[in-house]
């Protein structure tokens, strides 16, 4: 491995720049949003939404670590966000189960009795 690459990797591990986290967070969010829009299965859509929320959470934790006077507050927000995501999915899976019981499918484009 060339010396420059090794030095770069060391620098990255020692103090990863804020932008790196933000880019990864934005990517996660974008992948999740893309999946949530194109997938048909409701359970897969929930997985994509989890990806979106985790992308946001990564951004949040990165900001909380880099901001000068945020203290530990940002990280505590991140814990609350995780709890909210869990609550959303709990209610969500219950509703998906209810839909599955009455229609034997959870594909969102097949569940269309109301239109207009």
């Amino acid at each position: 491995m060339p010396q420059q690459v090794q030095q770069f990797l060391h620098a990255l591990v020692a103090a990863p720049p804020l932008n790196g986290y933000l880019v990864v967070g934005a990517f996660l969010f974008a992948i999740g949003a893309w999946g949530a829009l194109i997938r048909r299965n409701a359970v897969v859509i929930f997985m994509c939404v989890e990806l979106m929320i985790n992308g946001v959470n990564l951004t949040l934790v990165a900001f909380a670590d880099y901001l000068p006077n945020a203290g530990g507050l940002g990280v505590s927000y991140a814990v609350l966000v995780i709890a909210i995501a869990a609550a959303e999915i709990a209610v969500g899976l219950a509703i998906v189960l209810a839909v599955f019981r009455s229609r034997r499918t959870v594909n969102v484009d097949e569940v269309t009795s109301m239109r207009g």
Binding site: F46, M52, F63, E88, G92, I95, V111, M114
Partner: protein
């Protein structure tokens, strides 16, 4: 930082709703056939929240608590009154129906937790607190929409509402996190230092994502597509309640974020609001014209009314700003009484437009109430909707901006556009002959009581307007 006794008084409405929420849920845990007890307790709870907020308002209690993250001012208390009042009527309307489902305590608990979330929401001054309270109000509402197991549409509406809702929540959260990142704090007073005339691209992206999230919550076009399915599938009491209380609270907190957190960026966001207002009004009214199902028609009409309230947001600049805040407050109260009433009539008559044929001969009281609500939703004086629109038009006229004049023009055009579908119902009730499909006297005493009280409030809103306008003038926001 210790929690003072003052903070307990400030949290009184929320503590009361939490207490009743737990008690109602326990009633369900300790008895199978306690629907009446649960409904009584839930109605008592929402009345207690209403009274506690009214007492705080009357005694002039105000202040900032928990490190400035929670504020009690007349503005917040005003919206707590609207939320608790609409919850009271929702509980009355749901009492008999939820008893038949066998899960009355659970359903009533959901209503009370929406009350808790919405009344926390209007007091929040911290972006993450705002997100938490929005979710506290929204997650139970998904369950409320999907609660009716006897109709297939209910779970379907719930699923559509839920999937779009959780996506919108994560978009809203991303916006909030970006705003937190660029301003270094989630407190609205610190955000105001960053959001000045010149916005960085990240700040602009954060603002855009946050406004999109809020636009979804208030069902503004182009984020409205969940509204008709959710309200058509939902139990009537849920549709009536969710189209009023969480929406009013979301408008309130959006007003607070924009005015307290981003006054410097007003030219940017008033332009966004003007754009949203115009397309929301047109989309709501044009789609409502095509509906034969009254419930779906009212869902689109609630989209249009969100557009009218957003028109007041567009006027939040220049000389009309203070008046535009009052317009939002007046309109929300006016909308709450007339829209809840119109939805509850569906419980008495039915959701198909045919059910209203000749209703004036078979059930004159319900027909008169529905006629009043429809006329109020159009904005016929002296009913409640007229005063809301009047306030928005005056605020727009005072703003002195061409863009706001265009928005007000669109509001007037849309008022005319909305006449056919509201008056179509009135026409059906008076001119058509009653058929076998005409709604007789369904529903029960509690629903009828709610409808008549709301009809009286809608009719005599003009008498309340003088104390109400004095109240909103002293709202403490601008």
């Amino acid at each position: 930082m210790a929690v003072s006794g003052q903070a307990f008084i400030a949290l009184l409405p929320e503590l009361i709703s939490t207490g009743f929420l737990i008690v109602v849920l326990l009633v369900g845990a300790f008895g199978e056939s306690n629907a009446g007890v649960a409904a009584g307790l839930a109605a008592l709870g929402s009345l207690a929240v209403f009274v506690s907020a009214a007492v705080l308002l009357a005694t002039g209690f105000s202040g900032s608590f928990f490190g400035g993250g929670y504020v009690v001012d007349p503005f917040a208390l005003y919206f707590k009154l609207i939320v608790a009042g609409s919850a009271f009527f929702a509980v009355l309307a749901a009492a008999r129906w939820s008893g038949r489902t066998g899960d009355a305590p659970e359903y009533l608990t959901l209503i009370l937790s929406v009350v808790l979330g919405a009344s926390l929401l209007v007091s929040m001054r911290d972006l993450f607190g705002i997100f938490l309270s929005i979710e506290l109000a929204t997650i139970p509402s998904y369950a409320m929409v999907a609660f009716d197991r006897s109709r297939r549409e209910s779970a379907e509406g719930g699923m559509k509402y839920l999937i779009t809702g959780v996506i919108a929540s994560s978009v809203l959260l991303y916006g909030i996190v970006l705003i937190y990142g660029v301003s270094g704090s989630a407190q609205l007073s610190d955000v105001a230092n960053t959001f000045t005339g010149n916005l960085t691209p990240v700040a602009l992206l954060g603002l855009g994502l946050m406004v999109s999230g809020f636009a979804f919550k208030v069902s503004a076009a182009p984020f409205h597509f969940w509204t008709p399915d959710a309200y058509q599938g939902a139990p009537t009491s849920a549709a009536a309640f969710l189209s009023v209380a969480p929406k009013a609270a979301t408008f309130a907190v959006l007003l607070r974020i924009l005015l307290e957190g981003m006054p410097g960026a007003a030219p940017t966001w008033t332009a966004v609001m003007a754009f949203l207002a115009i397309i929301t009004m047109f989309v709501g009214n044009l789609f409502a014209l095509r509906q034969r199902n009254v419930r779906r028609m009212l869902a689109y009409s609630s989209v249009a009314h969100s557009g009218y309230i957003l028109a007041a947001f567009a006027a939040l600049q220049g000389g009309g700003a203070a008046f535009a805040v009052q317009a939002v407050l007046i309109y929300t109260a006016a909308y709450a009484v007339m829209n809840m009433g119109a939805f509850l009539v569906i419980d008495l008559v039915g959701e198909d437009a045919k059910n209203y044929n000749g209703l004036v001969r078979t059930n004159p009281a319900a027909a008169a109430s529905m006629g009043l609500f429809m006329a109020a939703l159009v904005g016929i004086p002296p009913l409640s909707g007229f005063f809301g629109k009047l306030w928005i038009i005056i605020a727009g006229a005072q703003s002195g901006s061409i863009l706001v004049y265009i928005v007000v023009g669109a509001l007037v055009v849309n008022t005319v556009l909305s006449v056919p579908y509201y008056f179509g119902i009135i026409r059906n009730m008076i001119l058509e002959e009653p058929t076998s499909e005409t709604g007789g006297s369904k529903g029960n005493g509690a629903v009828r009581f709610s409808v008549y009280v709301l009809a009286i409030l809608t009719t005599f809103f003009g008498l309340l307007i003088i104390p109400l306008s004095a109240l909103v003038k002293a709202s403490g926001l601008l």
